[in-house]
Symmetry: C2
């Protein structure tokens, strides 16, 4: 498989490029753009047949103009030209790309001279939102620069029609699922609602390639996708979303397929997984044989992380020493110097690698030690590391958890890199769980509200909450009209509670409904006005 | 000129399409998209050589995904294909499109099969902003779907290099100026800083076409561009920005050129100018002769406006009558019915025209009459007009103006269509003028702050204010360092005031500086911390 011939597909595999991540940062602002350029240039230099991306091409659901512009620039620069495309699409493209206004693979559009088609599923960062269900990839798709596939419109069942590709004698069935909330996809799998369609002819002659963008590691009982859920007819799974580079294919011994996890091409959190050297893959497929060549990325900013636990050095310092904080500080400084030295050595001979590395020193100061001013400490390295603000991180072994409700203050005061990882839904959930009973709402479900707030915050969908509320209000009004409830307030409240207790599906399209009254303390004129306003459609 | 031959340029002219205007409105949401489709389809049907747009293709500086998607869809649908392009670009395209990453006209890109090139300047709605100086048109440009020209990087002088086009024996020199704040452009003209370069050869053989997007009517002494400012060698000026359709070319008898003002293709304010029937133009140019054919737009929502002054009907009602408000209401209702009838008649035979018209009745109730509840009045027409919320508008002859400061409450409670027209800079200006003296800032200029707030609000540039403040702070610090001011607070304040009073240019890059103290009441530790933080670059 090391020789390239007319029967061998050459596919560049990458994922989680997160264009636009930290784009306002004076030091790191261009990192994602530079690395995307490196990746696409690599695709061109290797004359691949196509590029396969595993989601999160963009970091923000609504990418900045700069991010979108830089992305299009690289795609136009590296993916257009006169190189002939040597493979065919055999499947029904109107099904594969049904969501597009131009439902065919871009290289077959007679108005576009594509040299390297790019195929991508969307990730959780760049997923479709809003009334039109568009995502950033759809803009690229509409511009003819990318082929967005693996898109599903149903939230209850998935039927995945592969893109069928043929080059010489080799046939690839390309399956994909764009990011879906893990719990939902988990439920669909458990309820047997995920079907992967297979080509009618020569079922066994196809190389079955599958791209997924979900949690691979277990984040909770149903908050990930167990590998075993995936069909065993697959040959290779490209797993996006997980940022640690584990690109060498690993065999799942139960299902007998291989999994490659390319990992992100940019460090978005200062955690150990991201310190693993970043790679992309050059996948060769001939017949049903494959070979995946690791290609190191040279433009990725180095990241070194180290943990120290002060208690582990009883010979050097103890909390009782008078000058202990000073000693700890000197010790930390020495550790950082060592990491910087290591980074510098490694960077030698790699002129594309940015000068300043990311460095994180995690200091466990349990056992009576005191932390010190990290700002002042960081000043010493301000010109030598890319992340002076969060260079040092103090941790303590977990204390007993305070259960008396959610502490927003504490949450918001966490360092920014951790706030970013807090999931908005969790905040909403905790809020609903801890809110006073008589403050709760009856017509809005926890899950619906959680989803709306998340879209509002994470995806900048400004109308998400308003849309949810109008939707629920309308449903309730329809229910009341259908039951001919007269306009007395008590009766309406009663009917609504009955509707809720009776488990009428129409009142809770998603998730569990909190069976408590709406509008307690909101009586008379307000109520009246609201009713008049809404029934009259204004 | 009515026959199309190989020497005749056919150019479709349109402007102010405002894609995305009111896109969330349940009734009017798609209006701009539908009309843009009509315009581009018209270009295709007429087999024009190119489309020329006069700015404000987008309503929002950061168009929604839907607006961008719909725009690209229409461009790809109507402007790509096998129709040969029969004209050449003779000028240096690296100059004409110097701001683009692909600085050549899109139809000459060998990877794009363009049938109708679109040329556009930017308007005030879709102008370049932010650190990268990109605008929405640049995204289309980067995607190869549009040719953005008339872009200038200097704020002090303009040197306009025309795009030189040749078809058969006809030569067009196409000049353009993307929108610039009127005052600035006025000043540049007055200071002779606007130069329109002319082709070296056969200067008099060229048809000189110029596109501008500025105020044409006088909004203040220097807040517009007098027609006389424009060079008299021009043949035709396409004037964007003004929404009233005055597309028939009018000769400026002083300069001896013609001006066509196509007007917007969507009604964005309920004012009389917008009630003029909307058109686009089909311009034919042969040699130095031209002909402009008006093409009515069929998809534009009808808009009828009427003014009534209650005092003008002393025979019907007087303020003293007991039932007068009731009578007025009935009278208004009748007027609206008449307008609806007129609209319906006109709409007959135009199946593309949306059903519900825009209707505005302006009622001058000066002279002791009382207004009535417009909400309740509008309810009667909620299913028949597109704008029930602002159907009726009460006016009164201007009262003596209250000078005791700006009344934000009153401003914000105006009907939304008027709030949209309020200029943010005006609010900031009024705020600065009325703020208590001791609350004012000394390092921030009124104009700089006004501009930053405007970008923040109008253009959704979230970093505009922060950037201004960092910029001014840095300048001040540099000034202080250069003068070796010691770190005593009094001395610094003193130096800063000297710097300000002395009129040092570095302290006020734009506009007049308000010579009052900064940070009054902010002493000691706060001051110290701020200084430490910024001098150390964190």
């Amino acid at each position: 498989l090391s020789t390239d011939d007319e029967d061998t597909f050459k596919i560049l595999i990458a994922t989680d490029i997160h264009l636009g991540y930290l784009e306002k940062d004076a030091v790191r602002g261009n990192d994602t753009f530079v690395t995307f350029d490196e990746i696409m240039k690599c695709a061109k230099q290797n004359e691949v047949d196509f590029v396969l991306l595993g989601g999160d091409l963009f970091h923000d659901n609504k990418p900045s103009r700069k991010a979108m512009h830089n992305c299009m620039e690289a795609l136009r620069k590296y993916c257009m030209g006169d190189k002939p495309i040597l493979f065919e699409v055999l499947s029904d493209q109107a099904v594969n790309f049904g969501n597009s206004k131009f439902p065919w693979v871009n290289y077959q559009d007679e108005n576009l001279n594509i040299s390297i088609p790019v195929f991508s599923v969307h990730g959780n960062h760049d997923d479709p939102t809003g009334a039109d269900g568009l995502c950033a990839l759809d803009l690229l798709s509409c511009a003819g620069m990318l082929n967005h596939f693996g898109r599903s419109l149903s939230v209850e069942k998935l039927e995945i029609s592969p893109v069928l590709l043929q080059k010489g004698s080799t046939q690839i069935a390309l399956y994909g699922i764009g990011s879906i909330p893990d719990e939902r996809l988990y439920r669909m799998f458990v309820n047997n609602q995920v079907t992967m369609l297979r080509p009618r002819e020569d079922e066994n002659s196809w190389f079955n390639l599958f791209v997924i963008h979900q949690n691979r590691s277990k984040h909770g009982a149903t908050n990930y996708i167990p590998e075993q859920f995936l069909d065993d007819f697959l040959d290779l799974v490209v797993w996006g979303h997980e940022h640690e580079c584990k690109i060498a294919p690993v065999r799942n011994e139960q299902q007998l397929f291989y999994i490659t996890q390319p990992g992100s091409s940019v460090v978005t959190s200062l955690s150990p997984g991201e310190a693993v050297k970043k790679h992309i893959g050059l996948l060769r497929v001939k017949g049903r044989k494959m070979n995946l060549q690791k290609i190191p990325l040279h433009t990725v900013r180095q990241f070194l992380i180290q943990d120290i636990t002060l208690m582990d050095y009883p010979d050097i310092f103890s909390p009782e020493q008078p000058n202990v904080t000073h000693k700890v500080q000197a010790f930390c400084q020495q550790k950082v110097e060592e990491m910087l030295e290591e980074a510098e050595k490694e960077r030698l001979g790699n002129p594309q690698t940015p000068e300043k590395p990311l460095i994180r020193l995690r200091v466990d100061y349990s056992g009576g030690f005191e932390s010190f001013n990290t700002m002042r400490f960081s000043q010493k390295f301000v010109d030598r590391v890319a992340n002076p603000k969060d260079l040092l991180h103090f941790t303590r072994q977990r204390e007993a958890k305070d259960d008396e409700g959610i502490d927003f203050e504490a949450l918001l005061s966490r360092p920014s890199s951790e706030v970013l990882q807090l999931r908005v839904e969790d905040l909403v959930k905790e809020y609903f769980q801890t809110a006073e009973k008589n403050m709760q709402l009856s017509l809005l479900t926890e899950q619906g509200m959680g989803k709306a707030v998340q879209e509002f915050v994470d995806k900048e969908e400004r109308d998400a909450i308003e849309e949810l509320i109008s939707y629920q209000l309308e449903k309730t009004q329809r229910y009341l009209r259908e039951r001919h409830v007269e306009a007395s307030e008590e009766k309406i409240d009663e009917e609504v509670s009955v509707g809720l207790r009776g488990g009428k599906k129409m009142l809770k399209p998603e998730g569990r409904t909190l069976g408590v009254r709406v509008g307690v303390g909101c009586k008379g004129p307000d109520r009246e006005r609201r009713r008049e306003g809404t029934f009259n459609g204004s």
